[in-house]
Every structure is written in C-alpha cells, then in structure tokens.
Symmetry: D2
Subunit: 294 residues, 4 copies
C-alpha cells in the first residue's frame, strides 16, 4: 500500500520503519530533515513537504501536540487539501478531544476517511512493532487501515465508529497509569518512612496476584530506584496528557479530583526543574513532601 | 500443632477450617457461639472464653477491629495473661499500626512470640486456603507459624522482623486497591459520559498488557455493572482501612492526598446509606458527581 | 470626554450610564440592539457596529468572555483597526491572562494605549457607580482613564504598568471568594449535621472580629438559606473564572490544589443542572455529599 | 466568686490573671509549678494538685490536648471526684468532640455543671481580657459562668445548651482560618510568580471591602513577609485542630476535602521541620511547590 508518514519522533520513526519492513511503499515527512535519513536508508521516499506525503491511500500523523497536527492537517500545504477523496488520514498522536472532533468533521466534509489510532507502548515497543493500537473510525476506513496496524502493533483494539472515542480511551489510559504512579508514590512514601526497603516492598506487592501487572512492576521499580533519567515518557508529555484529560472532562462536565491531583503534581515537578525527567518522577513527590530530600 | 483461633467471621471461619484440614488440633473461640458450630462439626474444640483457646503453641486472632483485638489480647481473660512463655500470638486482623506496636511490646515483655500476619484475599480465598499471607515477626516465631501459614494460604511473604511492618504493607495494599477503584471510577465516568459502553471499555483496557491484572478486571467489572451487592468487602471496612492508613501516615508525617480523597469518598458513600455496599461502590461516585442518577 | 462603550450586559449597562451621568459623551454598542435603548434615552449615541464606537479618546469593552473580546478587538470591524493612535482601550471584562497579553502587545504595536481594568462588585454596585476598579497599564493611559474610573467606581486601585497583572489580581480575587464559599460550605455541613441552626451559626461566626467581612456574611447567608436564585453571579461564570485562574496557574507552573477542588465543585454543580444558580451554590455541595438531600 | 484554674500556659496565664483582676478568689494549678509564681504574686492561691483547685463554685481547665484534660477531669485526683454538686467545670481547651461528650455525660451523672467555653484570640488578647468566648452548656451553669466570661473576654457568644456544639464551632472557626491561609497562599504564589509584589498585592486586596477583615490582613501579612517566627499559634497546634475537625467530620460522616488538603499541608510542614513555626507557614507551601526555594 502507498502510505505517507508525517512525524518521525521517537515513536513515529519506529512505526514508519515497521511499515517499510511489512512491504508498504512509504513516503516520510519530518520538519527537521535529518530524521528522515535513517528511514531513507531503509527504503522510504522522503517528502519535502506534508503535501508530498499525501498521494497514497493513507497518511499517518504522529506528532507532538495539537498545534503540530493542526498545521499538518489544516495548513495551506496540509492533508485536507491534498489527500484524495476516499483516502484515509490516520491520526496516532495524542491530541485533544476537540481537535479530534474538528478533524473528523473536516475529513467527512472533504469525503476523506479519518481514523483516530493512538497507541500504547514506549519507543522500544514502536521499534519492535509491538504497539497496542486503539482505533476508531468509519468501518471502511478501519478496513483500509487494518493491515497497517498489523505492521506496527501486536494488537488492534477497535473502539467505536466515532474517532474521538479512541482519543478518549487513550487519554483515560494515560490517566490510569499516572494514577497508579501517584498511588505507588504515596504507598512507598509511607512504607519507606516506616522503615521498609522499597525494592523488598515492591517484590512483596507484585507477588500478590491482584497487582501482578506491568504497570505496578515497571513504575514501582522506577520509583523505588528513583531512576527518572533518561525519560521513557517525559514529565512534559505527562503534564500535557493530563491537561487534555481534564479538558475533555471539563467539556463533558465530569469532575475528576484524582486527575486534578495529578495536574498539580506535574506542575510541581515542572516548576522544580523536572521537564526532562520521566513522568514517573511525580511518584517521588510524596516522599519529598514527607521530608525525603534525596 | 495445638492451635487456638479467636474470631470466626467470614475470613476466620475459612482459615480455622483449613487449619483443621491440615491436621492441627484447633480450639476455636467466637463471641457469638453459633458460629463455632460448623467448626465443631469439622473437629474443632470449642472454647467458652478466649483464655481457653490459649493453651497451645499458637493462638490466632482474626477480629473486626482494634477494639476487639484489644479486648482479646489485653483483657482480664485475654491472651497476654494466658498464653505460655515461648508460645506465639498470630494477629491476622487488619489493625492500626499503634495497636500492633503495643502488642509487640507487650508480648516481648511477657516473653511470648508475636507475629503480625494480615492476609490478602476475600472470604472465598480463605475458604479455599488460597490466601496470601504477609507476615512479620521474630525469626523463631515465624518458624513456628510457617506450617500454619501453609495451611491457610497459597503463599507467605515475610516482610521483616518488625511485626508492625506487615500491618503497614497490608494497609498500603488496601490503599492501592481503593486507589485503583477511584481511578477506574473517574476514567469510566469520563468515557461513559463520552458515549462508550463501559463493558466494552473494560475489555479494551484489560487487553492492554500494562493493565492485565485482576485488580483492574475485578473492580472494573463491578463498577461497569454497578453491582455493589452483596459486598465482598464492605464500604464500612474500606472506610476503616483508609482511616488506619491515614492514621499511620499521620504518625509518620507522610501527606497522602490520594488517601485523603478516598477518605472523603467513603464518608460520602456511608453518608448516603452505602454501609452495606461493596467498597467498590465508591467507584460509582464520580459518575454521580457527573450527573448520573442511577 | 468622548468615550465608546462596547458590551451592555448587566455590568456594562450600569457603567455606561454612570459615564453619561458624569457628563461624558458616550457612544454605546451592543450586539443585540434592544439593550442600547435605555442608554439612548439617557443621552448615549448608539453605534451600529464596534468601529462606530471607536472615534473617541477611549473605548471600553465589558463582554462575557475571551471570544467576545477577541472579536471586538481583532475583528475586521474591530478596535485595533479603528481606534486612533494615542487613544486608549480599557478592557474591563474578566478575560484570560493570555488574551490580555495579546491585547497589550497588539495595542502597543498599533501605538494605542491599553488598560486592563477589571472591576469588583455586582450589578447593583455597577448601577450605583460603586465598583472597585483594579487597573493596570502605562502611566499616560491610566491618566486618561482616571476620570472615567471615578465615574464608575468608588475607588481605583492601580496595580502595575503591566496590564496583565490587573487581570491576575481580578482572577485571584474571584478565586479567594470561591475559596471562602467552599470553606463556609464545609464548615456549615459540619456544624449543621452536628445539630446547630445555620443562621445562628453564621451570627456567631461573624460576631468574631476576625471574620467580620462581607465575604463571610453575604455568602454565608446565601448558603445558610440555600438561596441560590436569582443568581447575582452565575455558576457558569464562576466556573469560567476558575478555569481562567487554573489556566494562568498552569502557564506560570503554580500548583493550586484548592483551585482544582473548586473546579471540580463547579463541574459537579453544572453537571447536576446548576448553570443558572448563583455560584455560591457550590457551598451546598458539601452538605449534599454528607447526605443532605434538600 | 471562688474559682479554680487548671492550666497556666500562654493562654491560661492571661485568663487567670484577668479573673484575679476582676476580684475573684482564684486558686491556680499547673503541672510545672514555676508558672504559678507570677499568678501568686498577683494574688492567686497556688494548688499543689488539681483537687485543691476544685473547692470553689467553678473550675476552669485550659490545657494543651485531650490527654491533659482527661487526666485533669477523670484522674483519681481529678475534677469529677472533687468538685461539689452544683459547681461548674468550664472547659476552655480545644478538645475533641468525643471527649467533650464524655465530659458532659460524666458531669451530668455527677450532678455537676459543665460548660464548654473555647475561646478565639491569641495570647495577647488573653492577657488583655479581650478574648471571644464561645460557650455552650445548661442555662444555670452558663448563668454562673457569665461574670467570669466577662472578666476574660470582650464578648460571650452562647451557642447552645449542648456543650459539644461550642467545641464544634471552635473547630470550625480554626478550620476557616486555616482555609483562608491556604487560599491566600495559593493566590500569592500565583500573583507573586506572575511578578507582583506581595505587600502591594495585599494592600490592593484588603482595600476591597469584601475582604476587609483581620483574617485576610493578618495572615496575608505573615505570608507576604514569610514571617513565621515566633509562632502566635504553632503549626503543631494547627495540625492538632485540623485533626480534631476531621475526626468530628468522620463521626458525623461529613466529607471535607478542603480540611483534608489542610491536613496534608500541616503534615508536609511538620515533616519538613516546621513544628515551631506559626501555623500560617502552610501559606508558603504553595509557593514552594511552585519552585520558590526561599
């Protein structure tokens, strides 16, 4: 399949590489061109502008934030103007609910397909083709996208025919992860100050079948070791996702006090210089509040 | 081994039965005597008072709250006065940190062993001998207790030689469960009001390996179905455990804002008549706050 | 002085009337023209569009939200294009920090003056010319504006030469009021459920010199009587102001947990149908959470 | 009137002195005797034990916490055993609701009067006889106590004939003060980081009639100047009062999220070494969370 791919950050680069490996004809675009070189070496065509990546049946966007996706989609040189009727825009970026709704409406009007397909997984999973794809959109667009999802992920979960609901599931998932980080952070501040070794505690905890999931092991380990660099997913991105969650919640009028607590944790972390730390670093704030000055 | 067992509630009855099955010579005591009958039929001796259950090498307590354990331990007719030197009191109740510390000190002074051994698992796991035992105490006392733990549980996790740390681990574990309930409740209020079916959402969520643990599946299912009766673990007990957690945190000067949020959730639930509901019913409060009047 | 006035809502109508009374030559504009009639009867000229209100030395805007102010200022027919060099735009609306900064920059570039002058006081104070004006802007612009502030208010407080700081003070003030409402709501839920009559409680409380301020008496009275209609300041506007406060706090990276709590209170109130109630209605939510179903 | 006075801390010493000045025959008791000397010099009789201060018509207690009051009241040598029938115990300490209820029941059974009469005001107000007395108890007991309240305070507010309600009002009052401290702390963190001088901000704020109360001026001033020593009322005492408030709220099943936030603030402050600071020091924590390291 002829596929465009816009956005070659740490996630996008891995996804595009797996599309090439699966035999698709991939044209990549990235604002700073040096990130296109490795992909070119793997067989990608390199586009000089977004529109040059829009001549296939599908174009992916995997960009940092709403602003970048807005430019790529609505700009003069953007996807809406240059994608063929019937072709599909797959948006894998974590974006706001309102932008997702605007995109769905604009593509429908332009008679183009639109699939929201955010992913779960860190850059290593993207490189290994083991992402989890959470997809929503019209059936025919999903059908077109399916073989591509197989190339980039281990599993595709189809949420709904309303694209925005995939974004909502993605946001809720990141909110749940951050909630577990906060909960572990408070629990570890408590038992740590009580005198228990945190690694030992984590071993005990994850021996309990109830808690036998990677979310407890992985994030608990980072907090126990206070190992927040290098960031797998930065505090800045974590803060962004909680902001998007709260914004969706505000539009739907759903009070989320735990999400509000997480918001304040991320702001604290950023205010104290933690932009480049892993987002799990909020899990050390409860210990700091309890007087741990490490 | 000759073992006493004080407290035959839904958890204690199953534990005592498994001790009998494993061939131990068990004497049971319960304040209301009718709960002793089934155990008698299984081969237990029935004690008329606590002291009559104290003539073995070990005596268990599995009681509802601090007050009940205080009576059984410190009363005129209690364990401290009647247990032999060198014999061991195993306290499996979820009690406060400060009571656990008082018990440890008193038993040490009386030259008796003391093991705090709270358990994870619901009544069905107690009946099946599949509890998870979290134990802490002096090595020789733990040695004595070990075969008994094997009879009641699938696994024993030894925390420390300081009994109180087992209680702290137990409290932190219940706090983590309640935190996941809150997080799921908020996430489901959000995606539910956004238009997604909650069972479908939960299937998607628990397909993500990160969240592939019973704590998400079980509690998420109860919230999705709003099935809060009969209670596996009541809101009243949940409120008690969060109170004990906050009290431990206060003594150690550890601020726990998420635990504070849970405290307020439980008070809300109880104030609105939810005493007899399962503690997962706090997971429906976010939807109520968002206008869901079911 | 020749003055334009854009926005004749409940606040703006009173302010414009007082400018006329003070002898200024006032041209008014309002989107729905029927609100201009009473002002015309008092001697105002009526403008058909915003630009027609921009031919004096000063133009006020007193509009509902960011969107309305953006249109009036940046539109084709807007203030920036039509106000003379050296003339002054006085923005009295409660707007976001970021819009205030954009306005300040745009007016500076257009060589026009810009004063942010939000006000404290309800519609009756606006009608009586007894508002409190919190003003910030360049000295010469403030000088021009001063006699106008005297016409509409009992007092002018000059904050800074940076306009945005007046907006920040206004937001912080509304945040403080809402905080007192929450605090009173919780206190009254407590003493009320304890058995004390709320009016009697409020009399006692405000007899204590420490609490002898209108913010306690006025809002306490509304909560005690559960008298939330008609709204002096609606829950919808309250929610907006807390949103703007949190947004300013996010930009400055200042965690504000109490503001987050207020956010959730307002969302609860709106989700339960409270849009048209006075914002003090959040002060009844603590009692509701405690089981009071009135 | 013949009056006993138990507890000569900073508050009690001033109160007892004013009783002497008003012409009453006062017998004082304090655990560490050196605090009795100044009172003896002013004309007090000095008691060697609590019971020696119980031979008058009234005995005051003004002690640090529940434990001290329990000892003084219920001890072998305590008030209940030694006060005459018909005589009155006036409890001015800030104690828990449950202790106040126990005292009321015990005194009723002993046919003694009991008045809960906590006070508002700092040590200087106690010395000047300008406290605000919040009193509750049976009418005849209040009648007996009234001239004494006149000696120690500027005003007496009679709450109810149920003593516990005076304690509840006192706790709610301290909760309100702490709430204002938190609100001011967050507002000042915001405007301060935005670039406004905090003293200037406070002047503006308290020029607004709505906020024209000492609670804003006094505590705002302490926060603006970060002047938390010497403590007028220590963080330790503040934490105690919020704990008592939350405990009362738990008994009555009233969720109080703002009180929970205050609880966590005080624990943070104490965990970071702030025991001896004024309780208004929690008002600097929002700025610290926002990166202010002063």
């Amino acid at each position: 399949m002829k596929v465009g791919f816009v956005g070659l950050g740490r996630m996008g680069a891995g996804m595009a590489a797996n599309l090439i490996k699966a035999g698709h004809e991939v044209t990549v675009y990235n604002r700073s061109p040096e990130k296109t070189y490795p992909l070119r070496d793997q067989g990608a065509k390199v586009a000089k502008r977004v529109s040059d990546a829009c001549d296939g049946l599908v174009v992916f966007t995997m960009l940092a934030d709403d602003g970048a996706v807005e430019n790529a989609a609505f700009g003069e040189d953007g996807i809406l103007r240059h994608l063929a009727k019937g072709a599909v825009h797959i948006s894998s970026s974590t974006i706001s609910i309102s932008l997702s709704e605007r995109l769905a409406a604009a593509h429908a009007k332009a008679e183009q397909g639109f699939v929201a397909a955010p992913v779960f997984g860190r850059p290593d999973a993207a490189a290994a083709g083991e992402l989890l794809v959470v997809a929503a959109g019209g059936i025919s667009a999903i059908d077109i996208a399916s073989p591509l999802f197989e190339a980039i992920g281990q599993k595709t979960l189809v949420v709904s025919d309303k694209p925005v609901l995939a974004n909502l599931v993605k946001l809720s998932g990141n909110f749940l992860i951050a909630s577990v980080i906060e909960a572990l952070g408070e629990a570890m501040a408590l038992v740590g100050k009580g005198g228990l070794d945190l690694r030992h505690y984590l071993d005990i905890l994850t021996s309990i079948p109830l808690f036998n999931a990677p979310v407890f092991k992985n994030y608990g380990g980072l907090i126990a070791d206070r190992k927040f660099e290098p960031a797998g997913f930065s505090a800045t991105l974590g803060q962004k996702d909680i902001r998007l969650t709260l914004s969706a919640a505000e539009n739907l009028r759903v009070p989320m006090p735990l999400a509000s607590l997480l918001r304040d944790r991320f702001l604290s972390l950023l205010a104290q210089g933690g932009e480049r730390l892993d987002w799990s670093a909020i899990g050390h704030l409860p210990a700091k509040d309890a007087g741990d000055n490490r």
